[in-house]
């Protein structure tokens, strides 16, 4: 699968450029997205009713499509663990406050996890394949695997794949109480969207040569062997991996497994959130495509990295492996 277009809204300045020069740090253990001006592509009256998750989703889809020169899209697949949090809270709070009376449907209809994918279809009048994955830290990976199946089925030339999660003030309180948000381990949010294609174009950023996920692996050897298998399936040797973009606080497994690769921590730019690997894939693809600012932001030393492994795991329950390679 080739990455032919990217839209990335993140805590860094990544929407209108590849990566802003001044990097933003987290505040009080949270990263918050830098959002673009939406009214350039979403009608004002629609915009008013849309939550940030939906706005961000539509904006990154718009950008990814524009970069890919607006090809016909054969699939719209999103991944989100938290879903449309704001609208869910809004409806739930009104139910409780008003004792199930005097409700309005807007928040409810926009609270469903498939709202972003549905709105993208609606906005682009597209009846194509449409799917939403909600599998915690591997929601985005599920979407990528589904896209690869569409290509295998010969059902698609271009597929839109996105990973979206939004923070809210209430969610921040909950995450603090769950001890998730710590000074040295801030929480974040983001939306990243990709036009994936079976065709290598002159504007291709990189290709995805492996995607896999593991659930509750019994021991570390299973994880290591899975990473090795994905490297092999990608047609690579261990030594071909130049950089590991790790989402883990303890990156010893990946560093020991691939000692010659430089291991960098991508969450220092976006924080912890379930679809953070979508951010990692967006910036990783730009690095492979030769973007200097992104390379500096991530602290990558290698002049021309050709193969990047993205490895992330959540509480040793969900593990994700993605490999990006130079086109």
């Amino acid at each position: 699968m080739y990455i032919n277009g990217i839209g990335n809204i993140s805590p860094q300045n990544t929407y209108d450029q590849t990566m802003g020069e001044g990097l933003v740090a987290s505040e009080n253990a949270f990263f918050v997205c830098q959002e673009p001006q939406y009214k350039q592509f979403i009608q004002k009256k629609l915009l008013r009713r849309m939550s940030r998750a939906v706005r961000m989703g539509l904006a990154v889809a718009h950008k990814a499509l524009e970069e890919a020169k607006n090809p016909a899209i054969d699939g719209i697949i999103t991944g989100t663990a938290w879903g449309c949090v704001k609208d869910t809270e809004k409806f739930l709070e009104t139910i409780i406050e008003n004792n199930e009376q005097y409700l309005t449907p807007t928040a409810f209809v926009q609270s469903t996890h498939n709202t972003v994918a549905g709105q993208i279809a609606l906005m682009h009048h597209n009846n194509c394949y449409n799917m939403t994955y909600v599998q915690g830290a591997v929601s985005f990976e599920s979407a990528l695997i589904d896209a690869s199946l569409l290509f295998m089925d010969g059902k698609a030339k271009n597929v839109l794949v996105a990973g979206i999660d939004e923070q809210t003030d209430r969610l921040k309180i909950l995450l603090k109480r769950l001890s998730c948000a710590q000074g040295n381990h801030p929480m974040g949010e983001g939306a990243a969207c990709f036009v994936l294609s079976d065709q290598n174009k002159e504007n291709s950023y990189a290709k995805i040569t492996a995607v896999n996920m593991l659930y509750r692996p019994k021991d570390k050897d299973i994880v290591k062997n899975s990473i090795l298998r994905e490297i092999k399936n990608a047609g690579l040797e261990l030594a071909d991996i130049d950089v590991v973009m790790s989402g883990n606080t303890d990156a010893s497994l990946e560093q020991n497994l691939i000692p010659d690769a430089q291991v960098v921590a991508y969450k220092k730019l976006c924080g912890e959130y379930p679809t953070s690997t979508a951010f990692a894939m967006a910036v990783g693809a730009k690095v492979i495509h030769g973007d200097a600012n992104t390379k500096i932001a991530l602290g990558i030393n290698n002049a021309n990295p050709e193969n990047i492994l993205i490895y992330n795991q959540h509480q040793n329950i969900n593990h994700s492996i993605i490999i990006l390679s130079k086109v």
């Binding site: 663990a81 139910i95 498939n114 279809a121 994955y133 599998q135 915690g136 295998m152």
Partner: protein, 404 residues
């Protein structure tokens, strides 16, 4: 080489039974699950009837974990019970390291517990048992199901509103077809919550009486809860004696018309049905029975009816909505109705569309569902429809498995 996909196990829990046997007994006696509210704490009792699973959380915990004290969301409990039945009836096949997928469809996750927590939390941001929030996400029930089976392969959750579990069936089939998995347990679960009841109520699509799908005088839907799972296996690993039916067609589309309403001409529904029949490699006239989405809302039944007329022209196959029995179980409905489709093929039965009286005028007065249980039917192909908010539409085609 694409692999054939066989169904080797079924599991179901809904307002008409905690397993397949009870479910079929209630179908035979036309005993619908719609009733006045017994379990959900809501001010809408007794004005809105629901299709509740007739057990308390403690009783469900006993069935799922053998322990009434076990804390879990109602969603997880229902999911485990149906998934365990599906797995058991498939002969509890070897999990095969990482070769078994667990895919579940779900819309509100552990919202039943979140609602309780949130009432405290809104009073005081430090109040309530914060661990409750760990059961909030949709994926939680899927992971509890995977854990109850000991599965360590690909585990994923789909949330495309009311078509969620039909889409998990499609995902499982495609993973197996390409040899990425040997088998998958697929389907979905949802439990009733104040959140959904009030959401559908404020959309004014709930029937305050017993619903009448595909009837001229239909008033809306009855919400239900439950879970339905089937076990899909590759032709390479399925034991011939375990095979119940074959999954031959599937398609997913988007209506792209409105966030909640279906398009008047049923574009999404038409594309899903057409795609599923094409994937099956058959012509529409081969379909013997359609298990329609048939929610009982004005909008859905009309738009689905138009789409069926476009697909089948004058020759509409036998059809019925089993939601008159189970209510609309949202994320679970595609899984529950897949179980109904597989059992119909196995036993040669067609389910009655309870309470149907008058055909819909705008559909030419000619779309008349089956109103009696039909037995000894020679069924080869069944089409099952699942449509949802966000324009998501999916259809599946099941084929009878005959030894000859």
């Amino acid at each position: 080489m694409a692999k054939r996909i066989f169904i080797t196990g079924t599991g179901i829990i809904s307002s008409i039974g905690k397993n397949l046997t009870e479910t079929l007994d209630n179908i035979k006696t036309s005993n619908s699950g719609v009733d006045k509210i017994q379990y959900l704490k809501t001010i809408h009792n007794p004005n809105i009837p629901l299709c509740e699973v007739k057990f308390s959380n403690r009783e469900l915990a006993k069935m799922a974990y053998g322990n009434t004290e076990r804390k879990a969301s109602r969603t997880s409990l229902l999911g485990i019970i149906a998934a365990q039945e599906a797995w058991r009836t498939a002969g509890s096949p070897e999990l095969g390291d990482g070769r078994t997928g667990v895919f579940s469809g779900n819309t509100v996750g552990g919202m039943d517990l979140t609602e309780l927590f949130y009432a405290d939390f809104m009073q005081d941001e430090l109040a309530g048992d914060i661990k409750t929030m760990l059961t909030h996400e949709c994926a939680e029930s899927t992971e509890r199901i995977a854990d109850s089976l000991g599965a360590t392969g690909m585990v994923s959750t789909i949330s495309t509103a009311c078509s969620s579990s039909a889409n998990t069936i499609m995902l499982g089939a495609r993973m197996i077809k390409h040899g990425l998995l040997d088998r998958a347990i697929v389907g979905g679960v949802d439990s009733l919550t104040k959140f959904t009841v009030n959401g559908f109520n404020v959309l004014q699509i709930l029937d305050h009486q017993y619903s009448q799908p595909f009837d001229q005088n239909r008033r809306g839907l009855n919400l239900g809860e439950g879970a339905g799972f089937i076990v899909l296996e590759s032709e390479d690993t399925a034991k011939p004696e375990s095979i119940l039916a074959e999954l031959v067609g599937y398609a997913n589309s988007n209506d792209a018309y409105h966030q909640t309403a279906s398009s008047p001409d049923g574009t999404g529904a038409y594309l899903a049905m057409k795609g599923a029949i094409e994937t099956a490699g058959i012509t529409p006239d081969k379909i013997d029975y359609v298990n329609v989405h048939g929610t009982g809302t004005n909008n859905n039944d009309l738009s689905e009816g138009f789409a069926m007329q476009r697909i089948f022209d004058e020759k509409i196959p036998k059809f019925s909505s089993t939601k008159a029995f189970t209510g609309h179980t949202l994320g679970a409905s595609g899984g529950i109705e897949a179980v109904f489709s597989v059992v119909a093929l196995q036993k040669g039965i067609i389910y009655p569309n309870l309470r149907f009286e008058t055909p819909i005028e705008d559909l030419g007065g000619k779309m008349i569902p089956e109103t009696q249980l039909l037995e000894n039917q020679n069924l080869n192909y069944i089409l099952s429809n699942s449509f949802g908010f966000g324009g998501n539409t999916s259809s599946l085609v099941f084929k009878a498995f005959k030894d000859s």
